[in-house]
């Protein structure tokens, strides 16, 4: 019998991501309840999938058919909603990024889930992508030492990819301009939000490569919306670069790992689409280039299968890893924002 899923939130992350993903796992999960603040979107989505809808979170958490709660709500609501789901005795929570917006909140929600045995998973789909598993195996099996890592994103509007996986009524056009990044407080806030909301997709992987965050060397907001950050972790220089664009080329989403002999590239497909896993390419110092083919299962499906293993008890929740991932991204975000504010003060 499929697990009942209740989704809090009804934005594109639900319509274009989780609903199409769960349709691919209909034998394992069934969406039974969708709630938002009463915009009408939850009702619209629920009707399409034959689920109940409600306003606020209380009815959803009281719905006995809901055993798995998915949080696709604003980030600053995640911690409160996780605690409420735990209090309601729900079996599992899939929390979209970020887990929480402060380290204190992350610690509190992980502790609550651990104490109650609530399964917890964060929607960092890249971590579950089979390609990352392959790249990690290559590093470990070869005894490779990581000398540098870089994460590069250049993203056109998400609407391009929403259009191929769902139908959103009255899709908003992307703003051509951006926030006033010349204002340090705005720049710092933007960079912090982008690290906790976007870079967080890949920071668990970065933490796998270089777990001990040392210091941030530079952090800058990039127009129209983006950032560039350089930092050291475990002695490894790491560069994050992200820019969100009003139009243009297809998405670039890539992690480059430089070892003593090789450069390993993990190229992820655009967000929302279901075209399989990332592709791993290895440029060896010998001059050979090896490309490992993508597998058909994408990171979103893999993430839900990982959740299935956890609720079925065939795998254990790594609460400590979830917490350390959250600490890493929040510490990096805070340090980057402080650097931006501090450099102006200087």
């Amino acid at each position: 019998m499929p697990y009942g899923v209740g989704i809090i939130g009804a934005g594109p992350g639900v319509a274009a991501l989780h609903l199409p993903t769960l349709a691919r796992l209909a034998g394992e999960f069934s969406v039974v309840h969708i709630a938002d603040r009463g915009s009408g979107r939850a009702a619209c989505l629920a009707e399409r999938v034959g689920a109940r809808s409600s306003s606020g979170i209380d009815d959803l958490l009281a719905d006995e058919r809901v055993s798995i709660v998915v949080l696709c709500s604003p980030p600053d609501e995640h911690a409160t909603q996780i605690l409420a789901a735990v209090a309601a005795g729900k079996r599992a929570v899939l929390c979209e990024k970020p887990l929480a917006t402060t380290i204190e909140d992350a610690e509190a929600v992980v502790a609550a889930c651990r104490d109650s045995g609530t399964v917890l998973i964060v929607g960092t789909n890249h971590l579950y992508d089979a390609a990352w598993g392959r790249a990690k195996h290559y590093l470990l099996a070869g005894g490779h030492h990581v000398r540098a890592a870089a994460v590069t994103l250049a993203l056109p509007p998400n609407a391009r990819y929403h259009e191929v996986v769902t139908e959103l009524p009255g899709a908003a056009t992307s703003p051509v301009g951006g926030p006033p990044l010349h204002v340090p407080e705005v720049a710092a806030s933007v960079v912090r939000q982008l690290i906790t909301g976007l870079a967080v997709h890949d920071l668990p992987i970065v933490r796998d490569l270089a777990p001990d965050l040392q210091h941030v060397l530079f952090a800058q907001a990039v127009a129209p919306l983006g950032f560039v950050v350089g930092f050291r972790a475990s002695g490894v220089p790491i560069r994050l670069a992200t820019v969100m664009l009003p139009e243009g080329a297809d998405a670039v989403w890539r992690i480059d790992i430089t070892t003593d002999s090789d450069v390993i590239q993990v190229s992820f497909p655009p967000a929302f689409v279901h075209v399989g896993s990332a592709v791993v390419t290895v440029d060896a110092g010998s001059g050979t280039r090896s490309t490992y083919p993508a597998v058909s299962e994408d990171g979103y499906v893999a993430e839900w299968r990982a959740l299935l293993d956890l609720v079925n008890g065939t795998n254990a929740v790594e609460y400590d890893e979830i917490l350390e991932d959250a600490r890493y991204s929040l510490a990096l975000a805070d340090a980057a924002a402080s650097l931006i504010l501090g450099s102006d003060a200087a």
Binding site: R147, A148, A154, G230, R239, L245, G248, D250, G285
Partner: protein, 250 residues
């Protein structure tokens, strides 16, 4: 037809591949002189000029002091063409042309090379970002492997370069990110480029011409139009940037 003075034979193949323009010459006077860019290549250029060379090609110039480069600029009256295999002039021109005037929003440049080659890789990464952005850069922050540069027009560039146990002259990857994305990969003497936009991706043709032949052709072109060549000035810019950032960081 012009003589090419190349006693070391570095450009023997390139001369053979330009049979209508070039022939080997045992005399430097009136010829294009070829210098291997090791040791004190600056002095070698000056010497060839004093001996009557009409132009000089420097093959794969080592890192040298900015002061020496600028001194050479001030005292050189003949075209000096630099063959930079990791920053080929033809590749750079094609990469820039492919952008069709679209300014990048952000540039990233990552490199890795063995210890003896890492300084050249760092210099060429700086050169690539300068060319793709179409502006000069200043250092905003740096340590020995990471640097943030700020362009004159405000576009940022992030550079990382590390020393590894990798054979060959180095691995470089440069991307100019924006509505148009230029992706340049250099592995040793092979340069591959692509340009992506909303219309799709265009992969540039493979560069089958040797970098030596490109440099020699540029030298012939410079004899006709000396103003075309600013290689020494550009090398000074890129070298200064490396000195101010990665090389100078504590």
């Amino acid at each position: 037809m012009r003589g090419v003075f190349d006693p070391a034979g570095i450009y023997r193949s390139a001369v053979a591949e330009l049979p209508l323009h070039a022939r080997s010459s045992g005399h430097v006077a009136g010829a294009i002189g070829v210098v291997f860019g090791v040791d004190d290549w600056i002095a070698a250029v000056a010497r060839l000029q004093s001996e009557g060379a009409v132009a000089v090609v420097v093959s794969d110039p080592d890192v040298t002091s900015v002061q020496d480069i600028r001194h050479l600029v001030r005292h050189t009256r003949i075209p000096v063409v630099l063959e930079r295999p990791l920053l080929r002039a033809d590749a750079a021109a094609a990469a820039l042309a492919g952008r069709n005037g679209h300014a990048p929003r952000l540039l990233v440049a990552d490199g890795a090379a063995r210890p003896g080659a890492v300084d050249v890789v760092a210099r060429e990464l700086c050169g690539w970002v300068r060319i793709l952005a179409g502006q000069q850069f200043a250092v905003a922050a740096a340590d020995t492997s990471l640097a943030l540069l700020t362009g004159a027009a405000g576009v940022p560039a992030a550079i990382s370069v590390v020393s590894v146990r990798r054979r060959g002259s180095g691995h470089l990857r440069v991307q100019a990110l924006g509505e148009v994305i230029t992706d340049v990969r250099v592995e040793g003497r092979e340069t591959r480029m692509s340009t992506s936009s909303a219309a799709g991706s265009l992969v540039a043709p493979v560069l089958y011409e040797s970098s030596e032949r490109v440099a020699l052709r540029r030298a012939f072109g410079a004899l006709a139009s000396p103003a075309l060549i600013a290689d020494l000035e550009e090398l000074a810019l890129d070298s200064a940037l490396v000195r101010a950032s990665l090389a100078a960081a504590p």
